[in-house]
Amino acid sequence: MRISKRRADVQALLFLLPFLLVYFLFTIWPMLKGVQMTFYKWTLIKKMKYIGWDNYTRMFQDQDFWASIWHSTLFVILTTPTMIVLAIVLALIANRQSRLQKFYRSVFFLPSVLSVAVISFLGLFIFQPYTGFLNSLLHLIQLLPADREVFWLSELGLSWVALTLITLWWTVGFNFILYLSAMQDIPDDIFEAAKLDGASNSQMFWSITLPYLKPITKTITMLQIIASFKVFLQIYIITGGGPLDKTRPVIQYIFQAGFRKNDLGYAATMSYMLFAILLVLSAFQYWLNNRKEANA
């Protein structure tokens, strides 16, 4: 654009001002403020006293904190691959020519628009013993004897299963749509040509569809890992972090330290650790993507 330099500067500033204002006030400034907080005993009410590196040494020795980091990581490991496989399967279903095509697209995406609180309580009541939906169903179709119950929410392994299932059901819709549109972008003539060569459906899936989905899979993986690592409310409502705090994610631990135990300074310190971890994750991902592309 041709425009006088000074005028451009002023205009640019005016256009940028609203965004930069909120950005500085609510992201950059807290980011800096937080650094100060990590060096203090700092309660919900006020700044108490300077304590140097105490919060940091405490964090590195705090086994509960590292356990909660592991739980969030475990949640990432459980949800990311399953999410991708499920999203591809659902996209394949909705991509087939069928009278129900629209129905599939709607129902696979519908849960994504529900409030996280709603799906959490729905999950809780589905997995509750005795009268919950799942156990009642298992009793009805006699997969489970009438006098036995599966305790989805109090057995550690089963709680992870329940949490993963609910999360998949809730959020797979977004990834499903991304895969669906990626599949629809694959030029039809490629399939036509393959059919003429006598390729079977499964051959076409493995050698045409999947390679086409590779770029979007990279994007989804990266977004999913970070999103899963930040899990909080489903777990907080469904298992409360139990049994024995063994499903408690890191966000919950930080929240409890800050707002239940009234220690914002320590909570801020742990937030920075979380920040560092997410940063390393993104960097690793970036490096991985670029390396693969370089090889290809």
């Binding site: 919900l44 139990g242 707002f259």
Partner: protein
């Protein structure tokens, strides 16, 4: 045409949004807050304020004040509290108390943050067990001065309850009740099992074996669909039972007098935990019962243990013929778990003496009218109320009112609720699920208590 519309629309929405978003705050303030509660029954209008001692009826000197009051009560408690407030407002025309009900799980966080931000209430509720923490954080104010200015007499309170709210000789709270952990029984089911005496009380030997025997007979003689003992499988209620038995064994509080050292008596703790674990593993308690209240309420459980607040709920349940009694004396001495609701005056930005006087008169009024509060099941904090005809007219309460003297309170550690919620619950839950041995749990608890106290 299209373009013009675009310009207009975007400019318009932007300004609209900006004004709407910033102006929205002051818009619908307040008045819809309490409307929902007005339907509460005011059948309790009979209770006249005893005007005990020399408590002034007009602490504001004719000035009109409005007190904001934060509570954490729902259900029957919520209705009774509202009834007492309505009655107070009627009898004290110069003072208007406005009740804000908060959700109990978030209550303390909200109270602490709000007081810290300078927009806390004039009057609040605190459990005795939470008081030391609130004092330490500078949330609650001292009451001695304002109490003597209005003639509130500390001697009219049950001293066991009152002493638990006094820290370093200073009064910080007005206890209005105690709500100990007690036992309920279904008379019909006990009768079916042949375990109900002619006096309407359970036939049970008050000892470790006696209680187990009692449960064994219930299990044997009643249909398998009946739960002998309805109890939560995690957190509060089984912990309270453990605390009761641990105290009956003469166990110390879990912190030493210096409030810095973990002092769990591991042998006694393990013995009490073992006893309860056996109740779970032998099938007297329904495993992972998601709704132990409903279990007892719908007449499918023979006995149940929880706080006294359930009394009102059972009474309003049609067709439930029940009785109440203290926790059986399983071990050497009578003791149980209990806590108190107390009224506190949170620290406010400008200490308004008139409001504070009005607030403490209100607090004392709530204690004096404990007979209304007792409808939910609580034991009033003033002996004079327990002796009153009105309280005695309520059924069941007198069967357990004596427990007020045997409640074992924790020491005033600022961390005592954290010790309970973050350590005791966590490990004892594992014991109840038979995933950890009692001895192992005690060792882990001791270490975790110490870690928490060192923080």
């Amino acid at each position: 045409m299209q373009k013009k519309y675009g310009v207009l629309a975007s400019a318009l929405t932007l300004t609209l949004m900006l004004s709407a978003c910033s102006g929205g705050n002051s818009g619908n303030s307040g008045n819809d807050g309490n409307k929902g509660n007005e339907g509460s029954p005011s059948a309790s209008a009979s209770a006249s304020s005893p005007a005990a001692g020399g408590v002034t009826d007009d602490p504001t000197g004719g000035e009109k004040v409005t007190l904001s009051f934060w509570t954490l009560f729902s259900g029957g408690d919520g209705d009774n509290m509202q009834a007492m407030i309505d009655q107070f407002n009627k009898t004290h025309p110069n003072i208007q108390v406005k009740n804000t009900k908060l959700e109990w799980g978030e209550y303390y966080t909200k109270l602490i943050t709000a007081v810290g931000n300078g927009n806390g209430p004039d009057v609040g509720i605190s459990h005795t067990s939470r008081l030391p923490d609130l004092i330490d954080q500078g949330v609650v104010s001292e009451l001695d001065e304002v109490a003597s200015a209005t003639g509130v007499d500390w001697n009219t309170f049950n001293q066991n309850l009152l002493n638990a709210t006094v820290v370093d000789g200073v009064h910080y709270a007005v206890p209005i009740d105690t709500h100990p952990f007690i036992m309920y029984y279904n008379k019909k089911l006990l009768k079916d099992a042949g375990l109900l005496g002619d006096d309407g009380k359970p036939v049970m030997e008050q000892s470790a074996d006696g209680f187990v025997n009692f449960l064994a007979q219930l299990k044997e003689k009643l249909p398998s669909s009946v739960t002998p003992f309805a109890l939560s499988n995690s957190n509060d209620d089984p912990y309270r039972l453990w605390w009761a038995l641990y105290s009956q064994l003469g166990g110390n509080d879990v912190v030493a007098d210096d409030l810095k050292t973990a002092a769990l008596d591991a042998d006694k703790g393990a013995k009490a935990a073992q006893y309860i674990q056996d109740l779970f593993t032998k099938g007297y308690i329904k495993k992972n019962d998601p709704d132990f209240y409903k279990n007892f309420q719908s007449g499918t459980a023979a006995i149940m243990m929880t706080g006294v607040w359930a009394t009102g709920t059972w009474e309003s349940t049609k067709g439930l013929d029940f009785g109440a009694m203290p926790i059986p004396k399983i071990y050497d001495q009578e003791a149980t778990w209990g806590d108190s609701h107390t009224i506190i005056l949170p620290v406010t930005k400008k200490e308004d003496e008139t409001k504070r006087k009005a607030a403490i008169v209100f607090a004392n009024y709530l204690a004096d009218n404990g007979a209304i509060w007792a409808k939910a099941g609580h034991i009033p904090s003033k002996p004079s109320v327990i002796e009153s005809a009105e309280f005695k007219a309520l059924p069941n309460r007198s069967d357990y009112a004596s427990v007020a003297g045997t409640v074992k309170f924790s020491k005033p550690s600022t961390k005592n609720w954290q010790l309970r919620d973050n350590v005791s619950f966590k490990f004892l839950n594992e014991v109840w699920a038979a995933k950890m041995t009692p001895a192992d749990a005690m060792a882990k608890m001791q270490a975790a208590y110490q870690k928490l106290l060192d923080e």
